[in-house]
């Protein structure tokens, strides 16, 4: 069966309206520029609703959604257990002068769940958690420098960006040190060069940067990073905002067999309710207490209630194992479809956070064309970013996805003939 090609008339009308009153219409990662809508006419711009594994755009097109709101949707959109917990708390109060006990319960649950956590500190976005972690590390060590792994993403504060980004000062990033991922020699060198000056090493549990195959840590990599940090009294920060709970319910550091000093969560923490958490070791608790770091909505109760329900359900369902199995099933289907048409599809990263790349064309134009054909037919992939599996994704969804991917490969093959060319 050939799938219908989506029409996006209303999306584009809405965009024309949006750009009159909103900078660039849709800013950031969900917009057509940063979101790499290539070509733009293959992608929907605005959604109208979501349920389970799907969202519908304003034109009524349904998508099997493999971006999951870029991560937050882990149980399925509108999960009944999480939404019920949130509803009950909303009736009692949300943003109140004094925080509710949900905050304590949520912190207790995280301390019981996350292997390296002795305490939890709450905020709203992943960027709040990573920025809090860096502040904490600098306050504890009285040092300035932070080591990053190239290809990182730790948020949008000035310290996370680069000196050539608009509005960022060279001074904002003057204490950033960048080393290649998986390069222990480089790590040793910077610790020798900046002895006694490095406040923290910050890294995602594995390299899930954009536009490139995702890379897992080499055997022993994190263990050596851990050893070097400990030896140099440097704080080891794991940014688990993206991967958190999709690898290991106890934290991605636990998955890779080491312990972070600070670990940052957001996205999957509350199935879409807006809360982030910074968890840490006991020795950093007093320092965290000393920071002047808070926000108007950081202690709101509804997201805490949602987070509690989300974590409890993820534990009940053995969530990472389930997502990895679903991701593997999907990966197997996509690889078989690619193989059928003679395409070299690379799938990297952990299956619950899989990254796709058609390796036949290093310019990525062929890959972008394939992704566009999938999206036009109702499978929401991106061409630049890792994807996300959620618990509500069914075998039928996977079957339909593979069917559409197959059809998209057929379109490319017809367009390009027997030889592999750029689209």
């Amino acid at each position: 069966m050939m799938h219908k090609i989506n029409d996006y008339t209303k999306s584009h009308e809405a965009f024309a309206r949006a750009k009159r009153v909103i900078p660039s219409g849709i800013y950031g990662h969900q917009g057509p520029a940063e979101g790499c809508f290539i070509p733009t006419d293959a992608f929907p711009y605005f959604s109208s609703r979501a349920q389970g594994s799907y969202f519908w755009d304003v034109d009524g097109n349904r998508f099997i959604d493999y971006m999951c709101a870029y991560g937050p949707n882990i149980l399925g959109y509108n999960d009944p257990d999480v939404d019920e917990a949130a509803r009950k708390q909303r009736e009692m109060g949300d943003c109140i002068t004094a925080p509710t006990e949900r905050m304590i319960e949520f912190a207790e649950l995280l301390v019981d769940t996350v292997a390296c956590a002795d305490w939890a500190f709450f905020a709203k976005n992943g960027n709040d958690a990573t920025s809090g972690a860096v502040l904490c590390a600098r306050a504890y060590t009285h040092r300035k420098k932070i080591v990053f792994f190239k290809g990182y993403y730790h948020g949008v504060s000035a310290w996370t960006q680069k000196a050539d980004y608009p509005g960022v000062l060279e001074e904002d990033v003057a204490n950033n040190i960048y080393i290649p991922w998986n390069d222990l020699d480089a790590l040793h060198t910077v610790f020798e060069t900046y002895k006694g000056q490095i406040a923290a090493v910050i890294g995602q549990p594995y390299m899930h940067g954009n536009f490139a195959d995702n890379q897992l840590p080499k055997a022993g990599f994190w263990q050596e990073v851990r050893r070097v940090c400990t030896e140099n009294d440097t704080v080891l920060i794991i940014d688990d905002v993206r991967a958190g709970f999709r690898l290991d319910i106890a934290g991605s550091d636990h998955y890779f067999g080491f312990e972070a000093d600070l670990i940052c969560f957001c996205k999957a923490l509350a199935n879409g309710y807006n809360v982030s958490a910074l968890c840490g070791k006991e020795f950093l608790k007093n320092t965290m207490s000393s920071l002047s770091y808070t926000g108007s909505y950081w202690l709101s109760a509804v997201p805490f209630a949602a987070g509690i329900a989300c974590i409890q359900k993820m534990k009940r369902l053995d969530m990472p194992r389930m997502l990895i199995e679903k991701g593997q099933k999907l990966s197997d289907g996509l690889l078989a479809a690619a193989h059928k048409y003679g395409y070299d599809l690379h799938i990297s990263g952990v299956p619950s956070l899989f990254y796709l790349r058609l390796a036949d064309d290093p310019t990525l134009m062929l890959h972008q064309a394939w992704i566009a054909e999938c999206v036009k037919r109702g499978v929401y992939f991106t061409n630049h970013h890792n994807h996300f599996i959620n618990a509500s994704l069914s075998d039928e969804d996977i079957r339909e996805t593979v069917e559409i991917a197959d059809e998209a490969f057929a379109v490319l093959r017809q367009r390009n003939g027997s030889s592999v060319n750029r689209a």
């Binding site: 900078p23 660039s24 310019t363 134009m365």
Partner: protein, 269 residues
């Protein structure tokens, strides 16, 4: 913040370096070079800065970059052969050269004093004509022919300026350090295209885009779109959403060139 030395590269290679295109596109400019005693070779040499040779012959102009020790943004490195120059303008500092471009410094030829009439005559009229196209009166742009030449030249200056800034400016070099090897095609409709080649984080402007293996593209729907973007009349990000600017291929090339383009605006302001 802009860097004086980088500005000198941009002034010589990108702006004066557009004289060949001006002569090719504008019959009046070409005519200026068809008078008597206008077949001349002019060398410009800036200490601790760029160097290049302009050859004017039969109404046409060619430009060769020849800055020792620095990558040529045209990919044709050579040394400045003083003997080949009828006229040589030598500047002790980038500031002095930039002053000539701004009109605050009057150069005295180090060689070719007897031919200096070419500088004060045809060459000055040529650069005045270039300025008219690059800093056009709004009314002049209403003429389609003028609009076309002006936008071609502006596009060329910007593409070349990207190379200068990516190679010489400290922040531009940072952006360039994230650009993988390959070639970005910048085009406006079917009218015009430029290709910027990246090799080991050095940028060169291709002499012939059609011969390059293109690894990324940034396409403006037409010259009007390109003009509007260069003039700041439209926003690049929302224009991507509108589909009037399209990109594909190795997006880190597009993305980092966009960061350099921000600095082009700063240098050309």
């Amino acid at each position: 913040m802009t860097d004086t030395r980088t500005k000198a590269f941009l002034n010589l290679h990108a702006i004066l370096g557009s004289l060949p295109m001006l002569c090719a596109l504008d019959a009046d400019a070409s005519a200026l070079l068809q008078a008597k005693n206008t077949d001349r070779t002019v060398g410009i040499c800036v200490t601790n800065g760029p160097a290049g040779i302009f050859s004017f012959q039969g109404g046409a102009c060619t430009y060769t970059e020849c800055t020792p020790g620095t990558p040529s943004t045209l990919g044709t490195p050579s040394t400045l052969d003083r003997r080949a120059c009828d006229i040589l303008l030598s500047f002790p500092t980038p500031e002095k050269f930039n002053g000539m471009i701004d009109g605050t410094v009057t150069p005295i030829p180090k060689k070719g004093l007897t031919k200096a009439g070419f500088l004060t005559g045809p060459f000055t009229r040529l650069t005045d004509r270039l300025t008219a196209y690059l800093r056009p009166e709004k009314a002049a742009l209403a003429d389609p022919a003028f609009f076309r030449i002006s936008t071609y030249l502006m596009f060329h200056v910007i593409a070349h300026a990207v190379c200068c800034i990516g190679n010489e400016d400290a922040i531009g070099q940072l952006s360039a350090s994230y650009i993988p090897d390959g070639t970005l095609l910048l085009s406006a409709g079917s009218d015009i295209s430029f290709a910027i080649c990246f090799k080991d984080h050095k940028l060169t402007l291709s002499a012939d885009p059609a011969k390059e293996h293109i690894t990324s593209e940034m396409r403006f729907a037409d010259l009007t779109t390109a003009r509007a973007l260069f003039d700041g009349a439209i926003n690049a990000v929302s224009s991507v959403g509108d589909g009037i600017i399209q990109m594909r291929g190795m997006i880190p090339q597009v993305d980092n060139v966009n960061r350099i383009l921000d600095r082009v605006a700063l240098y050309l302001a």
